[in-house]
């Protein structure tokens, strides 16, 4: 007789913890053939606001860490993903209805993307910043710094794990792929055990159409990445974001590629002048 499997309860990931939605709501996640897979938490406005509080609290520690340190933490995510690849292949096959080979290729690509971004952590400042030759006795240096709290709508079509890797790397609140959220929650288990401080990445499952407007208008969110919002009323989200002059990335078709621009879009260039004494 075969062993009876133990199904997992899929919850939200906020502030390094795994709460259910405060609303008590769940929604059914089904396989590509329509079979029941799980009851995922359906995040509410309050969950989104809690996630913003958690993200804000994590900003100082994460942005104050050295680039070398942040790079190692991101690389650690790749290491742990590698060790759990079988689980992700299985989940992706089930929710997206793709063959194991296709799912496996997606997991590979996602892991490689984490590694790619890990390498940027201590380099983008050099590439996007520079010393400025001003006409006077001044030391003058421009460097990019993180914008703060960024809310992200993850890509909603296929490739759920790769989609996440392509948008999460900067740091954040992510609204996961609505129909295929399982790999996102499993990813948060990886995050929770991979030295990412709690609150740096927060993952919400549920309806992006319902949650996104609250994040877009939230006064303590500095940036809005609409990568996966193509099917939402994203222009309204961009309008809501204008109230506090959030930095906004507009939707992309499919999965965003590896891109330095996706890092620098949520940075602020700071220019420091200092006098040089006349000797």
């Amino acid at each position: 007789m075969s062993r009876l499997a133990i199904p997992k309860t899929y919850k939200l990931y906020i502030g390094g913890k795994f709460p259910r939605s405060e609303s008590g709501r769940t929604y059914e996640v089904v396989s590509s053939k329509g079979a029941f897979l799980a009851n995922a938490a359906k995040a509410s406005r309050k969950d989104a606001r809690d996630a913003v509080v958690a993200a804000r609290a994590a900003v100082a520690g994460w942005s104050g860490a050295t680039g070398y340190n942040r790079g190692q933490v991101l690389y650690r995510i790749a290491e742990l993903l590698e060790g759990r690849r079988a689980q992700f292949v299985e989940e992706i096959s089930a929710t997206e209805g793709v063959t194991a080979a296709v799912a496996s290729a997606q997991v590979d690509a996602a892991i490689d993307l984490w590694v790619w971004y890990a390498g940027w952590a201590d380099k983008y400042v050099q590439v996007a910043g520079n010393g400025n030759p001003v006409s006077g006795p001044y030391f003058n240096l421009s460097t990019p710094e993180p914008t703060g709290v960024v809310a992200i709508i993850a890509p909603q079509t296929g490739a759920s794990l790769l989609g996440l890797a392509s948008v999460v790397a900067p740091a954040v609140i992510v609204v996961a792929n609505e129909s295929a959220p399982l790999s996102a929650i499993s990813l948060s288990e990886v995050l929770a055990t991979s030295d990412v401080p709690g609150g740096v990445i927060n993952i919400l499952t549920g309806s992006p159409a319902e949650i996104a407007p609250w994040l877009a208008s939230h006064a303590d969110v500095n940036g809005l990445d609409l990568a996966g919002a193509e099917q939402l009323e994203w222009i309204d989200l961009q309008i809501a974001a204008a109230d506090t002059l959030k930095r906004v990335l507009t939707p992309v078709s499919g999965i965003p590629g590896a891109s330095l621009d996706r890092i620098t879009a949520f940075t602020e260039t700071k220019t420091v002048w200092h006098t040089k004494s006349l000797i």
Binding site: S135, G136, N222, I235, A241, L245, V252, K270, T271
Partner: protein, 498 residues
Amino acid sequence: MSFLEYAAAPESTAILNLRPSYGLFINGEFVDGNGKPFTTISPATEKGIAEIANADSHDVDLAVAAARRAYDRTWSRISGADRGKYLFRIARLVQERARELAVAESLDNGKPIKESRDVDIPLVAAWFFYYAGWADKLDYAGMGASPRSLGVAAQVIPWNFPLLMLAWKIAPALAAGNTVVLKPAETTPLTALLFAEILQQAELPAGVVNIITGAGDTGQALVNHPDVNKVAFTGSTEVGRAIARSVAGTGKKVTLELGGKAANIVFDDAPIDQAIEGVVNGIFFNQGHVCCAGSRLLVQENIHEEVVERLKQRLSTLRMGDPLDKNTDIGAINSKAQLDRIRELTDIGEAEGGDRWTADCVIPENGFWFAPTIFDNMSPSSRLARDEVFGPVLSVLTFRTPAEAIAKANNTPFGLSAGIWSDKGSKVLAVADQLKAGVIWANTFNRFDPASPFGGYKESGYGREGGRHGLAAYLQSATDSGQAVATTRVAIKKEASK
């Protein structure tokens, strides 16, 4: 006889050769506007200087069409080297006519001639000279190989540095290969129109730069024009928000330089003589009409009394009066409306319990004037210490520790600039790391250079002007597809709503 009494030394206006009225500069020529013309006045005397055309939405259409034609037919086709040569010509013409431009600027804006002559106009020339050299080197701008221009840029600028803001906008736009429709502020259109004459002397191809004058509705029509690819705005946060809303979903690239409420932090180990001069320069330069003005003095508690006393002494030696007089330190407030706003906010400051001190100045009979004013012992939550005054008004707050100074400095929705005064380099750099501001001046203030990026965090706007970063505001990388998605989406939405 007090040392403040002196023989007047006004710069002569004979160098100006103004016309009684100016049209809109569209497609290389001055043309009449369809709106009701208005008069630009000198804020120091309230006397009219010239009649200025007023562009309505039809004129905006014509200007944008001219810019589009010039983009398609000439400007996007000529080489970067040739674009650069036009910009070099413009830089030289500005230098040749520098004194004339300085006099016109002080006349129309009210700023002291020594500022327009020694700061504004030299920087205008420097800005064009700097970006001229970029025009054929865009591959090195950090946007990958062969970055593309955006198309037609709509640019709306404020009245505090009229010609300098024009240079900040036009020089990088043209270097990157865009064409321009620019609207100067309604109270300070004069130097932009003289600049149009310079463009004629430079033989810049018709339509590459169009200058249209008018008020807020003209600017709104320009920014919202469907054939505009780029919007660059410098002005209030309120208008910036409205622009961010109106361009949502259009794919227009936007840069916004908005308000500020900069903290100028003075530690007890600061070089105190320089710090006093820096604080004075930080808030009283250009009558405080500076978005990055150091309007909040954060002074360490143990030197608070000394610093405030010395500030009062120094401010008592500033001369307020005729902007064209070479001795003048403080000129006129730019407009009646601005003067009213400054008075309203300072009245609020008094009601909020701030200790008001105003320098003893003789206020001229005509014109708009506001003597340098300090509000001591302000609470961080008071409106005067939070709202942008955009005038010669300094709020004084105290702190004990660097951590408290940083927390107070960052306690604002703005994030444009900040100042730090200390002789201890390690402290300066550590504090600079923690301040949420786009430009930080350490042991100096209000320095500007075309090679140095300028722009804000948070609600002070986004994008940078100046330096390599300033070019990125007018370019897209050759592989950028984000705009294409946005534009398609809008097309779909428009189709659906028919």
